[in-house]
């Protein structure tokens, strides 16, 4: 008797989601008005790798501080937060929206700082760049592990005020944004906004 390979496959996917939870920071050139979404991703991957390589000496705090400006500058948090709240966004007042944005972005950076805690020979390769309808772009890349295993990472970017920003990461077919939206709207529906905030804050506390 033997078990089918369900869990290890899922394992590779969710582990990758952990690595890619927040989308890609814009490397070292946050101010630059990037016209090329592919370059945004390449720079991000370079920044990611360099953080991984110094992960130990930086420690959690160091990684958080190093990643924060990059993540904030490259990811369209206001857009993502709106999408994760789904139809409940409409019912939130400005104070709540601000809190949601603040807590969510804090959680994303904390997750990065927590998860990127080492390096063992990983590398990234950009495979293709395709425009989608509605002026967005999908950059398909591969994360190649030292043992040759590969994970597909697709980034969805859009333009806001001339800058390309990431709005979703899809790891081996699993959409990070879809998952978050489902989780958050479920909590918003059954337990309300404050419960969602305290759950997110609980997660942050867990990492710090």
């Amino acid at each position: 008797m033997s078990l089918p390979c369900g869990y290890p496959r899922l394992a590779a996917v969710v582990l990758l989601l952990g690595l890619q939870l927040a989308g890609m920071p814009d490397g070292f050139a946050v101010q630059k008005n990037t016209d090329d979404p592919g370059a945004v991703i390449s720079r991000f991957h370079a920044a990611l790798l360099s953080t991984m390589k110094h992960a130990g000496s930086l420690g959690y705090r160091g990684r958080y501080q190093r990643l924060e400006p990059i993540v904030r500058g490259s990811y369209d948090f206001p857009k993502v937060v709106r999408v994760t709240a789904g139809k409940y966004w409409r019912g939130l007042n400005p104070g709540q929206r601000e809190k949601f944005l603040h807590t969510f972005s804090h959680l994303v950076i904390a997750t990065y700082a927590h998860r990127f805690d080492g390096y063992s020979g990983e590398s990234f390769r950009t495979v293709s760049s395709q425009p989608t309808g509605r002026g967005r772009v999908v950059i398909r890349t591969l994360l190649i592990k030292h043992n040759g295993g590969r994970v597909h990472l697709d980034y969805l970017l859009h333009q806001r005020e001339g800058r390309w920003l990431i709005i979703n990461v899809i790891a081996d077919g699993v959409s990070d944004l879809a998952l978050k939206r489902l989780e958050y709207t479920t909590v918003l529906r059954s337990q309300g906004f404050d419960a969602l905030m305290s759950k997110l804050e609980g997660k942050i506390a867990q990492y710090e």
Binding site: M1, S2, L3, P4, C5, G6, Y7, P8, R9, L10, A11, A12, V13, V14, L15, L17, G18, L21, P78, K79, R82, V83, G86, K87, W89, R90, R97, T111, T132, G133, R134, R136, V138, G148, H152, D154, L156, H158, R160, E161, I167, N168, I170, D172, G173, V174, S175, L177, A178, L179, R181, L182, E183, Y184, T186, V187, L196, K199, K203, Q206
Partner: protein, 266 residues
């Protein structure tokens, strides 16, 4: 203990039950309407959550400690050999489904992989095939049914085996029936097969441990997280990494508000 005798009658009976079951499940899967939705079709959610809880308890009580002990005791190279062995022992399943899906070229390549790893790789303990370009593929009967057009069907959590769907569940049987470890049970007695089966479970569990920890840490609702990730990943596998347009495309059109952050409202 005596090995089970492989009488022709028994094989015929087992085949009938198996294919009959597959047919029924296939029809159920195909007939299960998949209405447009933003989450997986999960009509048996309450029951599934119960099984998920059960699996979690078994995991914490049994599989997790065993797997941690395994990792502590067996060096990494040894664990890689174990993983290679079980991947190889299950590989007939992939080969079979390569051909069932019409992927002849991949099927022959996978036969090559199996032969090389079983011989040069000493019974599957090593993986020389990857280094000469015969990489590992992942096909199973659930994907085959998907390629043949079956809808996913309802989400199911199976005891111990974990996430599945009405379409994919028969794949568990196919995987088992094509497994070298399973067939060895007819020739070895229980004193050998039970430890092998347990080792297989521990091997899978230790490979999945990072992911399980990640799900439990990050997910607000691990059950939903696991379900959605599983279902999306299955679709990805069926399309061999080229699923249709990222599913979220339409949903971004949902901008109702204006005036925050300078985005043009819709």
């Amino acid at each position: 203990m005596q090995p089970i005798s492989l009488s022709r009658r028994r094989i015929r009976q087992a085949s009938r039950v198996f294919f009959g079951g597959v047919f029924i499940l296939f029809m159920l899967g195909g007939c299960a309407s998949n209405p447009p939705r933003d989450q997986a079709y999960d009509p048996a959610e309450k029951l599934n959550r119960g099984v998920y809880q059960f699996n979690d308890i078994v995991d914490r009580a049994l599989l997790k400690p065993l797997s941690e002990g395994y990792v502590a005791v067996v060096p990494r190279k040894g664990r890689i050999m174990v993983s290679n062995f079980f991947d190889n022992a299950l590989y007939v399943d992939t080969i079979l489904n390569d051909f069932l899906q019409g992927k002849g070229g991949q099927g022959f390549a996978d036969i090559g992989r199996l032969v090389i790893n079983s011989t040069l790789g000493i019974g599957g303990l090593f993986d020389p095939a990857t280094s000469i370009g015969l990489e590992k593929h992942e096909e199973d009967f659930g994907q085959t049914l998907g390629v043949w057009g079956s809808g996913q069907g309802a989400y199911l959590v199976l005891p111990i085996y974990g996430p599945n769907t009405v379409r994919d569940a028969p794949g568990v049987a196919v995987s088992t029936l094509t497994s070298a470890v399973f067939w060895s049970g007819f020739f070895l007695n229980a004193a050998a097969t039970i430890p092998i089966a347990v080792l297989s479970a521990i091997d899978l569990r230790s490979r999945a441990s990072n992911a399980i920890r990640f799900v439990n840490e990050s997910a607000l609702d691990p059950y939903i997280f696991t379900r959605e990730a599983w279902v999306q990943h299955r679709t990805f596998l069926i399309y061999d990494g080229n699923p249709p347009e990222p599913e979220f495309e339409e949903d971004f059109g949902d901008d109702e508000d204006s005036g925050d952050g300078g985005t043009s409202g819709k």
